[in-house]
Symmetry: C2
Subunit: 577 residues, 2 copies
């Protein structure tokens, strides 16, 4: 039996720590750690200051002249508060949260706010619990916003359908900060009970609500904000951002893999008036992008390159997200704040050399300090590795006895075109068969259509990363390879496969909910790059990301036509074709 702490016991335990903090700050005891001769960014005064940074109990306790049990000389470096990513779907990295942490800690990230939207569309609230478990006590604090749109659209067949009652208890969790991006802005503006109730619940728990409303304006924007949406990360231009800032929203300036808005929003970052309402986020970061560019450190470097004041940039990267999310003890180097530091060579390249998390050295000399991967309750781990519930398929399941809509890809864009009808694959004219196979609830639903513009000449490509419901989407030149590909994904418990003549050419197993791998990021990236090459070798156009492109083909909220488990949908009319 475990001892349940009394309230007095809690106060007393915290008091003991606090007395130690005070003793160290007052100079009566040596600090646990002192960063000596540090040049550090003061995010409150907007200055570079110099002095010792004393740490005790994982917190900064004093600035000035201190002695420590451990001392580290910071001469010639600049100490920044640890960086904060204000909005990310960790699943987009294709690796587990632990491996994500191992990948971004070297970039100075000490806090991320994640929306487990993808895994929750697969596993329902078990997905939230899985991610909470998988991030417990990581050396990178992982805060949560609870997915607001599961499923993303009523046309979707996802693994769960959550109303406010399903998510209500999560708002009491200490690492849950509110309701994640409310993508269903038509539902809010239209005053839909079920949608608005989720905002009410988050507010009733005194938590935040993030927004997602590209280009919204006028009375619709008033209605959306009045409903209780406090931020937006979908601003693609200055006008859009300023409209939202003026109406009180905080602006998350997004620079990720799929969407990059930093350059367009630089006028806000550069402005001494507006930057205080801005923070950085990535939304989605794919493996190669993380490895090649970095994380928030990369955004800082880019912002400064584009003309931002370096200290303002650090304020945007640290303090403002903390203030927005009411995380009142992080994002700054000051007494009482978490001893989370990204030590950089300078405020130009933001090359991170050392990282501290709660006063512990977690990255130095090019290596992340060892840490235990969080233990996940057995039942959750088992469930996360058993999310494919569909029959074994054969070529017959992909046979087609009628005309189907042809979805046309548009060069370099995420939107599609309606290209009429086809009734058979025509590789010559780049007409491929496409299928979305329901994989959550054994419904046997298989939606079939055709795709033009992908370029595949033989075999099939399939992926279980398929926004936002993450059914299996498959494109192929023949029904046999398509069946083989889908079956292979189910065998692998998820992931990506490239198939030719009934055998696997390349694959990326993503065994956690069909979305993430337990392997390190670099390994997953190697598999992924190999699979991309294999897909291109089978004919997929060189300008096309073979898997990311597919992963959006089943998302019935982006125009013009999309393929769901029930067939092709006209996104504009929200009708099946």
């Amino acid at each position: 039996m475990s001892y349940t702490e009394s309230w007095s016991g809690k106060i007393n335990r915290k008091l003991r720590k606090k007395l130690h903090i005070i003793d160290v700050a007052a100079g009566r005891k040596k600090a646990d750690l002192v960063l000596k001769n540090a040049t550090y960014v003061n995010v409150f005064s907007g200055e570079l200051e110099t002095g010792d940074i004393a740490v005790a109990e994982g917190l900064v306790v004093g600035l000035g002249d201190y002695e420590g049990l451990v001392e580290a000389d910071m001469t010639g470096k600049v100490v920044c508060p640890g960086f904060i990513d204000a909005h990310i779907h960790l699943e987009s990295s294709l690796v587990s949260p632990s491996e994500f942490a191992r990948a971004v800690i070297p970039h100075g990230t000490t806090t991320v706010i994640t929306d487990p939207h993808e895994i929750t569309n697969v596993m329902g609230t078990d997905g939230i619990d899985y991610m909470l478990s998988a991030t417990e006590n990581l050396p990178m604090d992982t805060m949560f916003m609870i997915p607001s749109c599961v499923p993303a659209s009523p046309l979707d067949e996802s693994g769960a359908d959550l109303d406010y009652r399903d998510i209500d208890s999560f708002f009491d969790h200490g690492r849950v900060l509110g309701l994640a991006e409310m993508m269903n802005f038509p539902g809010i503006i239209g005053a839909d009970d079920k949608t608005v109730s989720k905002i009410i619940a988050s507010q009733a728990h005194h938590k935040k609500i993030d927004g997602h409303a590209p280009g919204l304006q006028g009375k619709d924007l008033n209605a959306y904000i009045a409903a209780g949406v406090y931020s937006d990360h979908e601003c693609a231009d200055e006008e859009d951002a300023m409209r939202k800032l003026r109406l009180g929203q905080f602006i998350m300036v997004r620079e990720g893999t799929a969407a990059r808005n930093l350059e367009a929003l630089m006028p806000l970052i550069k402005s001494p008036k507006y930057f205080s309402r801005c923070m950085f986020c990535t939304d989605d970061k794919h493996p190669s992008d993380l490895l090649e560019k970095g994380h928030i450190d990369y955004i800082c470097k880019e912002a400064v390159r584009l003309g931002a004041d370096p200290i303002q940039t650090v304020q945007v990267a640290c303090l403002h997200a903390a203030r927005y999310f009411l995380l009142n003890n992080r994002g700054a180097i000051a007494p009482g704040y978490l001893a989370d530091f990204a030590v950089v060579e300078d405020l130009k390249d933001f090359h991170v050399v050392t990282v501290y998390k709660r006063g512990k050295l977690v990255y130095s000399d090019g290596a992340v300090a060892e840490f235990d991967t969080p233990a996940i309750p057995a039942y959750l781990d088992a469930q996360a590795h058993d999310t494919f519930h569909l029959p074994r398929l054969s070529a017959r399941d992909f046979a087609n006895n009628r005309r189907r809509c042809v979805i046309g890809m548009v060069d370099g864009q995420i939107i599609t075109e309606d290209k009429g009808y086809a009734d058979a694959v025509d590789v010559e004219h780049d007409i491929l068969k496409m299928a979305v196979v329901e994989r959550h609830k054994n419904t046997g639903h298989i939606g079939i259509g055709y795709l033009q513009g992908y370029g595949l000449k033989e075999g099939a490509v399939a992926t279980s990363v398929s926004h936002d419901s993450h059914n299996i989407i498959c494109v192929g030149c023949n029904d046999e390879d398509m069946a083989f590909a889908v079956n292979r994904i189910a065998e692998n418990k998820g992931g990506i496969v490239v198939v030719k003549n009934g055998s696997v050419v390349a694959e990326v197993p993503l065994e956690i909910a069909g979305l993430m791998s337990d392997k390190p990021l670099r390994e997953v990236n190697d598999l992924l790059e190999n699979a991309k090459a294999a897909a291109h070798a089978l004919g997929v156009g060189t300008g096309i990301d073979p898997f990311m492109t597919l992963s959006f083909m089943a998302l019935p909220v982006i125009p013009t036509v999309r393929l769901t488990t029930r067939g092709v949908v006209d996104v504009i009319t929200q009708q099946y074709i």
Copy 2:
């Protein structure tokens, strides 16, 4: 039996309101109120904007072009968010919270954060409950910080002695924002358990802790802030304020009756970098000061006169206190924010013409709209009117058979000098007898000393407003008038009296805990001004406030010598003389 609302019931009730808000914002329904053609201060963009302000359910719901069931034309006026006083002891106004509200609503104040330090030193936690009751549903939101120092000093004999357990449950109250000014900074820096525990308790409830540490610096300041003190309102100069701002504290720029720091801190208000960490407060506002100058509107006018940007000034007066106290729906004019407005003629004189609170007109055409004085539970009201527990005194009780210390007043200052000893009144040489009579617990303690510099020539002056324990302090030329004065105060249940030859010359009854009157501010002020004149007529020096001066003579935390219920204290050594 009253119906206790279920959680679902609460969500549903809030949902109904929210759906109405959305309908109005989206333009499908008429607003409850529209301020037409408003020029308003946008505290997010730092601009003056123009448009209609639509209100529903007490909230701003839209900005732009709206129709309302009620419309008010704002042409030629400037609409500001309602002003916020970040720190005030309401008791200092000498009137009840209702009467205080009636006095400051015409000045555009829609929110105050009060520290009921005075009444709590008299009534203990009953004093907090009394003030919470007395402010419930006022047309001026009254938030609370819970007194941290009761008694203010161990040398004091106050009405209560509160540790963290005594105040712990108050942090759960919806209008309690944290722990009030931690004046006992030596206790914090010295890591005193009992003192630090109160901070721990407030933090454990995720609430704020206000500071009070004039001139603190170096490691002591680090220790005080590391302990968890988030703000300071005692900065008397730019250097002091910048030291605290740099270490992460929010700066409350105080401009009240007794202490006025605005001019000294103008560099912060004027700075585009620092002003965002600043807010306004008054700390103490006496009746004549409220009537003659105003409240936060007066501070705004002064700030602009001293060179501040008018819009930055409004941001300091509204948004920043709201952000500091995590009151995330006030301090701005934007969708979802409280419809609290101070309509002014211009941003120079800040002359308030109309005030709205939660969308209701509460001040216009020079008159405050009628409102019900909050009902106070009978037992609390009875207790607040029965706080004098002392025997009836006679001249013998003030007789003096030994030499006593002479406390010397210093012209225009609050500090005192040690002027040696006396053993009798000597009106010729301005040596008066002074007594502090314990009045909370019938201890019979009467501390006696002498006072030089007050100027009284005959009779006696006494007051039960006597910081911070609010015992009865009395100065007199003879023992008979002193006894009469003290007895009269007890009969009146508190207040101020001026006595001559065994009869009352003037008096101000303060029947609520001996600190406040139930009468309107103007009446109390008339009585007070009359009493001042009477005291001056009896000889009190013209440069001296006859009662405020006395009220600090018993506060054993301000150098050099003070009089307590147990005798004269050397404040420096904290020893009785």
